[in-house]
Subunit: 529 residues, 2 copies
Amino acid sequence: MDESGASSPENIIIFDTTLRDGEQSPGAALNIDEKLEIARTLQEMGVDILEAGFPISSPGDFRAVQRISEEIRNCTICGLTRANRKDIEVAAEALKDAARPRIHTGLGVSDVHIKYKLRTTREGALEMGVDAVRYAKRFVEDVQYYTEDAGRADPEYLYRVLEAVIAAGATVVNIPDTTGYSSPEEFGGLIRGILDNVPNIDKAVVSVHCHNDLGMATANTLAGVRNGARQVEVTVNGIGERAGNTSLEEVVMAIRTRSDLFGLTTRIDTRRIYPVSRLVSELTGIPVQPNKAIVGANAFAHSSGIHQDGVLKERTTYEIINPRDVGVPDSEIVLSARSGRAGLRHRLAELGYTLDQEQFEKVYGRFLTVADKKKTVDTRDLEAIIADEVQVFFEETYHLEHVQISCGDHSIPTATVRIRGPNGKVACDADHGTGPVDAVYRAINRVIGEPNELIEFSVQAVTEGIDAVGRVTIRIQAEEPVKENGWERRVFSGRGSDMDIVVASAKAYMFALNRLVAARREAQQGEGN
Amino acid sequence: MDESGASSPENIIIFDTTLRDGEQSPGAALNIDEKLEIARTLQEMGVDILEAGFPISSPGDFRAVQRISEEIRNCTICGLTRANRKDIEVAAEALKDAARPRIHTGLGVSDVHIKYKLRTTREGALEMGVDAVRYAKRFVEDVQYYTEDAGRADPEYLYRVLEAVIAAGATVVNIPDTTGYSSPEEFGGLIRGILDNVPNIDKAVVSVHCHNDLGMATANTLAGVRNGARQVEVTVNGIGERAGNTSLEEVVMAIRTRSDLFGLTTRIDTRRIYPVSRLVSELTGIPVQPNKAIVGANAFAHSSGIHQDGVLKERTTYEIINPRDVGVPDSEIVLSARSGRAGLRHRLAELGYTLDQEQFEKVYGRFLTVADKKKTVDTRDLEAIIADEVQVFFEETYHLEHVQISCGDHSIPTATVRIRGPNGKVACDADHGTGPVDAVYRAINRVIGEPNELIEFSVQAVTEGIDAVGRVTIRIQAEEPVKENGWERRVFSGRGSDMDIVVASAKAYMFALNRLVAARREAQQGEGN
C-alpha cells in the first residue's frame, strides 16, 4: 500500500527524522552540506524515508529539502508542514525534484490543543485536517498525517479524524507520544485501539513517533510495533529536543536481536550504524555518553580488574550483539608512514569512506604529519583527520596562517595570530586573556571583528596515549538579522583537531566564525526567498 | 516483611547499586572517600538500600563496605557475595558495624549457567543456593538472593529455587535481566509468573535488576513493578558495565510523574536528583549526554530560533516535569566579589553544599580569584570550585607549584614545571611534546617518574562566555602489583579546573598521579588483608 515498502507485513519501515526533529536539539544547527552528507550516509545505510526538514520554517530548511530531494534518489524524501495551504505549497515546491516525495502534515487532536492552540472546535479541526490532506494530494501521492497529542485525545474523536484523513488520501498516519510520558502498555494500547476501531486503517501505514523524556522511547516504539504499527520515526543517537527522540540504533538492533520475539525485519545495513553515529555526533557536536546502548564507547566493553566478576558476567554467555555487526571498527589495526598511499586507501575503504582524488591527497598529507609525530595512526586518528579535511562544508573566508601562545599559572596568557582574509589581505594581531584559548579567541576577534559569544567548548582526546590528537568542539552564538522578526540568536558550531589543543581550539573557532560569516552572507543573498 | 519498608504496598524500595554495579563501568574506579561522599548524598536523597560493594573482590571494596557501614546509618547497607561460605564470611565482616546490614548472595538458574559455569546439576545448584542463604542468616537477618540469567531458566525450576531460598530465610529475591535483552512484556511476564507460582512469595520482596543493552532498562524495571515487584535496583545516571544499569532518576521520575498510572511512590527527595547526578559524573569521570532523560543538559531545554516550531511544541502544553523538581539549579543567579562571605555561604547552602570552616575558606579564596577575573561567578563556576577544593579525597604527595608553557602551530610546544614532593623537596624540569598538554605531562613525568599511560582526556567549558572556566578530566592506566595474580592494569581518573585549560590539564594529571601513588602505598600497606 506504500511504495516505500509496507507490502510485506514483516518489514518495519524506518523513517529517519535526524535532519528535522533531531536537528531541533539545542545547538545542533547543521548547514546544507552537512545535512547532505548525513542524508547520503542514511541512504547508504538503507533508511526508507528521510524527513529532510520543515520547508516553510526558514530559507535554509527550504534549500536543504530541495537539495536532498535532488540528490538522494533511493529514499522517500519527506517535508513537514502545518495544516495550511501556504505551508503545503512551500513544501511541495521544495520536494518537486524528489524521486519519491512525501508531505507530512497534521494538527492537534486533544481538546486542549483544539481549544487553546488552534482556537477552533473538534469539527473545525477535523475539517482543517481533511482539507490539508486533500490539498497536499494535489501535489504528491504520498501524504503522511500526524495527530499531535493523540495520547490525550478522546479516542472516539481520534478514530474519526484518522478515518476522515485516510478517506481523504493519507497514506500514512503518524501517532506521536508528544510529551514522552507514555508507558509501553498505554502506547501499545493506543495503537491497538486505532487498528481495531478505524474502519479504513488497512488503507494506511500506522507510524509511531516517540520522545524519551522518561527514558522509554524505544520501549514505546516497539510496543507500537507489537500492536500493529509498521513505520517507526527515529533519529541517529536519539538526538532531538529535550531528552530526544527514539534511537534508530536501539530500535533496529532490538528488532534484529530479538527476531524470535518480533518476527520482523528492517532494511538497515546494521554495519553502517556505528559510522553514521560518529558522523552525526561529529557534525552536530552532540556527544554520545559511554553507556549509551549500541553506540556508546562502553556498549560492548566489560570492566577488567575485578577478577571475581566472572561470577556475574562472562563474555561468551552474555555478548549477543557482535560489535562488528554494528560496524564498530577494529581499533587494533594501525598504520604507519610506511603504509603509503595504498595502505591508507585500503584502510579508508574498509572504514566505509569513499574520497575523491583531491580529498584523498589532503587526507594523505595530514596522515603523514600525524604518522611522523606519533609513529602509528589508528582508526580514531583517521576519523579525526577526515572530519577536519573532508567533512568541511563551508567557504573559508578567513584562514588562520599562524598562531603562537605563551601561558602558565603565574603568567599572563598571550596569543599572536596571523590571518588571511578576503582578497588575500593578511592581518596580524595579539591579545592576552584569562587562559590560552581565551587569548587566542581575543586575538582572532581583534582581526576579524564579528561579534559573538562562546556558549560551549569541549575537547576530547580522540586517540590513546599522551601524544593524543585532541578534538575541539565549540558553539558560538550571535544575533542575526531576520526579516519580519528583526533579530534572532543563532548558534554556530565549529570543530578542529590537532596534537596541540590550543591550536585545535583556534581552528575550531575559525571554523565556527567562517560559518557565521557564510550564514550572514547567505541571509543577505536569500532575502525575499 | 522487610525492615527497609515493604510494609506499605504503595512504596517502591530504591536499591542503589551505583557503588557496586555502577562502579564496574570501565574507568569509573572510585576511591573510598569518593564512595563515602556519594553514599552520603544517596542517604540524604532517601535511597532505601545502598549496595556498597563486593567485599571479597578486593581489599579496597572490603574497606569501602566497612567504612560505609560505619557512617551511613539511615540506609540498609548491602554487600554482594557468591554462593559460598568464604565470600559470605568476608561480607559479614565488612558489614558488621552496619545499622541494617544485608547480604546479597545467589547464583545462576539457567541450564547453561548450571552446566557450564557452575558445573553441577539443577539439584546441586539449588542446594548451593539454600546453603548460602542459611549460612548468611547466621550473620544477618536480611538476606537477598539473586537468580542470575532467570530469563533463560526453566520457569518451573526458577519457581522451585525461589520457594526453597525463601523457605531458607531470604527476605528479598532479585530477578535480573542479566543480558539486557528482554522486552517489557517478557520481563513483566516473568515477574507475574513468579508472583503467581511461588507459594511463599508473600514472605519476600521481589526485586528487579535490569540492564540497558537495547535501551529498555527503565521500561523493563517499570514492567516488573507493574507486575508486583516492590524493589528496583538502579544506578545514578544509569552507569554500569556495557550500556549500563537502569537509571535511578528515570524510574523515580516515571513513578512520580505518572502516579496516575502506577499508583506508587518512593522515598526519594527528587530535588536531590540533579546534584547527585553531577557528583557521580564528576567523581567517576563519566559524562552525561545532553539528551539524557531527566539529568541531561537539554532535558528541559527547547530549541529556539525556529519560530514556526510553536506549532509542534509549546512550553506550557508539554513541560510536565518542572526542572526545579529534580533540583536543576537556577543558573541565572550570579555572585560577584562584592557578594562577600555571607552571599557565598547563602548561595552554597541553597545549592545543598554544607562545608566546614576550612573548606569554606578554601572555596572563598578560589571564588575571589574567579570573581576578580570574570566579574561574575555562576552556579557552574561554584560547582567546579567545589569539585576542585572540597571533593578531593586523597593525600597530595606531589604538589604542582608552577607551570609555564609556550606553543603554537609553527613552534615546538615546551613546558616547565616546579613540583614539591615528599619531605618538601622541590624539583624543576622542562620538556617538549607534540602539544602543550603533552609537553606538560612529559615535564611532570621527568620529575615524578611513575610509569603510566594516558587513556582518556577531555575538557569542558563549565561556564558560558569566552573566559569560561575549563574543566579537564583524564584517565591514566598503570600496572599495579596484585598478590596472587602478579600484575593488573588499573585506571586512575583525575580532574582539574582553571581558566587556563593547559593549567587545568596539569592539575588533572597531578590529581591522577597522586591517586596512583596513594594506591601503590595502600597496596603495600594492605598486603595480607
